[in-house]
Amino acid sequence: MRTPSTLLLIFVSTVVTALAAAQTGGTRSGEQWPTPAGDAANTRFSSLTDINSSNVDKLQVRFTFSTGLTHGHEAAPIVSGNTMYIVTPFPNALLALPLEDSGAPLRFKYQSNPSSSSQGVACCDTINRGATYSNGRVFFNTLDGQTVAVDAATGAEIWRVHLADIKRGETMTMAPFVAKGKVLVGNSGGEFGVRGWLTALDEKSGQQVWRAYSTGSDRDVLIGADFKPFYAGDRGQDLGIRTWPPGAWQRGGGTVWGWISYDPDLNLIFYGTGNPGPWNPDQRPGDNKWTAGIFARDVDTGAAKWFYQMSPHDLYDYDGVNENVLMDIDIGGKPRKVLAHPDRNGYLYVIDRATGEVISANPFVHVNTIDKIDLPTGRPHYVPEKKPTVGHVVRDICPHAAGGKDWQPSAYSPMTHFLYIPHQNMCQDEEAVPANYIAGTPYVGANVKMHAGEGGNRGVFSAWDVANGKSVWEIAEKFPVWSGALVTAGNVAFYGTMDGWFKAVDARTGRLLWQFKTGSGIVGQPVSYRGPDGKQYVAILSGVGGWAGAVVSGDLDPQDASAGNGWGGAMADLPQYTQKGGAVYVFALP
């Protein structure tokens, strides 16, 4: 029986935590980890210093919790109010683990019950990239295209909005992003010819506030008077229609399934748009605006402020959805408010986030498809010999379709000023074929066979000096590094490998300090938080899958080198190193 005093205690603690969370408005003082990216600037930096480069080798598992599912666990275990919230891959259940109880037994498990048919239109494994906590609610997307708001304490559903239509091949896998009372969500389905959009829902009621499409008329793309793109190529009337063959913009891709960041001072959100559909470039002549680029929009109205297209008339499925890490750094002696964007096309862009001007763009991986970015015009120069053509196999396209780095988010440490990039080192042979559009079926238009890039190591974890635009150190990994990165004030950087190792390296030198073999390959996002006992904890979701791990999670047959849209041949040896099966691992010092 609860005595009145304990009830009082509980009441006070919830009020305090709610206040604390509300006040931070998403930014926090390193205590909790309410959003997958940790903060609005997407730095994935933890200011906790209990764990540092000297004592990290004594890290121990404090508890684990199995999700009982066998697909790719790409989510980030977010922590708020001393509760850890995990969104599982399909069927997208929301698990709430109370951290104060030893062993963190399940407080509640919210079943979102998405339609099982949605598994048939999920291009790259039935993953989910995590939930977001805000103002006592947890928001997450389901594979069949619904955004759900759940009460953080009780697990009761508050509202649920159906935004995407799986019959047209549309799914939702991204982690929602909350800013100024609006839940921002986008769709996936670039490989199904889905027309991309970003939608803002009111945090309280779930009503749609605004929606910005990635193709179509200026009205659909919310381009208005104050749209001031830095480069001339992006200025024009209804470019979302005129840079496409007739009607192609309706199935032109540009889906929004990656990371959103928010600058409260400029009141701007920054996000990337996906690849144009289909992959076969000959079927969509023109720059295919506004795909494979970065939008800066006013968070209240959604009106576009500036846009920069990394890959106009993208040739290689280089989505532009990777994270935009906001940072204020000195460039050429002057402090600049910039965003760092390691793009799928293998270049790391440093862009002035107020104007959209590309300050620098340097390759962070071996690139032979684009030999230089012409800074005055911002346009990449595609190498003609590497252009995919119908009827001919073009060999050794580096980086491959999943790019220099796919969705796996990098981390930025304001102390070392390095960007820690988990990515892959892969090339591919590709033959473009004319794609036949049938709504709800794949609309790719390319036969692809991937293989390891230079040096034979399929993955790299590298530290990048953003200001000077050059790589500091690189760790070669056997498999693509498909997990996110975390860096802490204790100068320790965490990442996981696809054969199950959770590694901690010295943020300054890249020396391996500690590693732990989890039950399955790691494709999740590491987080760090201060537990109820005041100690610093680090958590990671293990469970191989995702596009790169589909060979294991989908039981694919590697005899077909093009299985898994090209990965089959390149990842044929993964099944010997890891089996499928997801669980969260939480570590702390003894």
């Binding site: 069927p91 099982s116 048939g120 794949p442 589909a550 590697p558 077909d560 093009s562 299985a563 898994g564």
Partner: protein
């Protein structure tokens, strides 16, 4: 030469003739078994009480190389290749291995294509006429080497991703119990 040997030779020749004719016949105005015939097949091996062997309509094109090559072209045109790749699987399960989730009999495959399956296989009922569905059924069976080697297609004029259907070994179908994760 003993007359018996002569008879044997003649019988072998006739068999060869039939095989040859069937493999090469081009049947343009064909209307194979209607869907109703397909409902007689069961998907589960278990039958309460007595177990009555059931065999739905046989695949009309198992011995016809032209229909199997048409099936291979439709496999690409109707975007089956988008989910099943060249048999290795991608969004959908692999079709070239020995594991069959919803039955390996031709009528099972016909039902899977027409009715669709809960974990993401779309239903193509009324979208693909029966003749073409049977051509797809024959091609899907050739992906794991179920057909005769001289009927199965050879390489395509595309990126060479796997040994051709005609040169990959025949695998004994196994009913696999690994449907997708439910709860």
């Amino acid at each position: 030469m003993s007359s018996r040997f002569l008879e044997l030779a003649v019988v072998a020749l006739i068999a060869l003739t039939l095989l040859g004719c069937e493999r090469e016949s081009r049947r343009f105005s064909d209307s194979p078994a209607t869907p109703r015939g397909v409902q007689t097949i069961r998907q589960s091996e278990l039958q309460p009480g007595s177990s009555i062997p059931t065999s739905g309509p046989p695949s009309p094109y198992d011995d016809n190389a032209y229909a199997v090559s048409q099936g291979k072209q439709l496999f690409e045109w109707f975007n089956c290749k988008g989910c099943h790749a060249d048999g290795g699987g991608s969004i959908g399960p692999a079709l070239m291995d020995e594991k069959w989730i919803y039955g390996s009999a031709p009528a099972n495959i016909y039902a899977t294509i027409v009715e669709g399956r809960p974990n993401g296989m779309p239903s193509f009922r009324d979208k693909i006429p029966p003749q073409q569905v049977w051509q797809l059924v024959a091609y899907v069976r050739s992906l794991s080497g179920q057909l005769r080697k001289d009927v199965e297609p050879s390489r395509a004029d595309h990126l060479f991703t796997r040994k051709s259907e005609s040169s990959s070994p025949k695998s004994a179908p196994v009913s696999s119990s690994a449907p997708r994760d439910t709860q």
